[in-house]
Amino acid sequence: MDRDRPFRLITAGPVDRLARTVEALLVVASQPLSVDELAAAADDDPARVETALGLLGERFAEERSGIVLEHVAGGWAFRASREAAEACGRLFERPVERGLTAAALETLAIVAYLGPVSRPEIARIRGVAADSVVAGLVERGLIAESGREEGIGGAVRYRTTPLFERVFGLESLSQLPRLDDVGEEAVQIRERLEAVAERRGA
């Protein structure tokens, strides 16, 4: 190996520069990119982009590289090599999480005790926007959509899921611990929480 220029793979020239640009575009994209999209972004000719992709295909090939260029439906994208599949599996395998964040727990408690309940209601009670926390809980399958509030354009409401009951060891929501010191029924609990939130937020 020539130690003076060990990494100058692509000889100098316009297609090599284009190949570097295509490389850059693919490493930033979160979806496969078509030749036309690449050509428009690189402000170059689709035929030349195809040539550049050819160069990159040789460079980013199985066994040569951990990054592999792949042609899939919709265009071109990078993926991990098969050789690294096991390592990638370990990277994406999440250890079992021991607990929830304070934000997630508060939101989950509101949905469990007061559900079905909308995002604006959760935000009002917690005093902070609920969008990302709610989205996270939906993604994890702990809460799910459950119709909309009355009226036209009513906000989506959420309830807890069977997975929630399994995780918390409940046969049904009626087994939730009593909250008599806050309120006996959901209606009273809700009133109390909203009143406190108003005083806190003011």
């Binding site: 930033v28 508060e106 005790y113 909250l179 010191d181 406190v196 939130a197 005083r199």
Partner: protein, 251 residues
């Protein structure tokens, strides 16, 4: 100079002052979002550009901005019963300087961040997951239902009383100065404002000025000033003493 047409460029609002007031009155703009200091700075800059003291405009501006400030203060600190802690002037000055230093640092740090962002504008990286990456599965260990109850109990707990320690700058009531000036005017037909307020704290001087504007508005006095920063001469007009109803209540 039309105070209401004063052009503003604030965080939460851009446009003339009277539109801002209208939006606040229609409850389309939260007074808490309004940067009152920014309005005052804009007004002072405009005043400086003109190079002469427009008493009419100053009076109108003070009344409007005082009303806005009062509205904002009431919304931020609804607990009127709360005791205001007393601070010695020395301590108050200390506190004010500390707060200004803190804010100045935040502004400097923000400027540093802005510059940094500018320098990083050619750095692109992927924000979402990779197109062909494996899906992440998150698993949660068994949880105690009691945690849910505890979380709701915390949300139901009364919030602590809001600290009002930063409302240390207390304004003397305007009525105090109205009485004082009326007493002076009952003895003398003319006096210089500067002679009456010399040596007073700046806050008191400001409130005294406000009282003077009110006397002028109600037609009790006329005001004369030879030039910018020249002494303000106060002259009694007549014996009429209308019922005081204006801003003294709020001061």
């Amino acid at each position: 100079m039309e105070v209401r047409e004063l052009e503003l460029d604030l965080d939460a609002f851009e446009g003339p002052f009277d539109l801002l007031l209208t939006l606040v009155l229609k409850e389309e703009l939260e007074p808490a979002e309004v940067d009152v200091a920014g309005i005052v700075v804009a007004f002072c800059e405009r005043l400086a550009e003109r190079g002469e003291l427009d008493l009419e405009a100053c009076g109108e501006f003070l009344v409007l901005v005082a009303a806005l400030l009062e509205l904002k203060a009431r919304l931020l600190f609804p607990d009127e019963e709360a005791e205001l802690s007393e601070l010695e002037p020395e301590e108050a000055a200390e506190e004010l300087a500390r707060r200004l230093a803190e804010y100045r640092r935040a502004k400097e740090a923000a400027a540093w961040l802005a510059e940094r962002l500018e320098g990083e504008s050619s750095r692109f990286f992927r924000l979402g997951p990779a197109p062909l990456a494996p899906k992440v599965e998150r698993r949660l260990a068994p949880q105690e239902p009691e945690g849910l109850a505890a979380a709701l109990r915390l949300l139901a707990a009364e919030p602590p009383a809001v600290s009002l320690s930063h409302l240390q700058l207390r304004f003397p009531p305007v009525s105090q100065f109205l009485e004082r000036f009326r007493t002076v005017l009952s003895r003398r037909r003319v006096f210089d404002l500067d002679a009456e307020i010399v040596g007073m704290p700046r806050i008191d001087q400001a409130v005294a000025f406000l009282a003077l504007l009110e006397l002028r508005r109600s037609g009790e006095v006329s005001l004369e000033q030879a030039g910018s920063f020249a002494p303000i001469r106060v002259r009694r007009l007549e014996e009429r003493r209308p019922e005081w109803t204006g801003i003294a209540r709020s001061a």
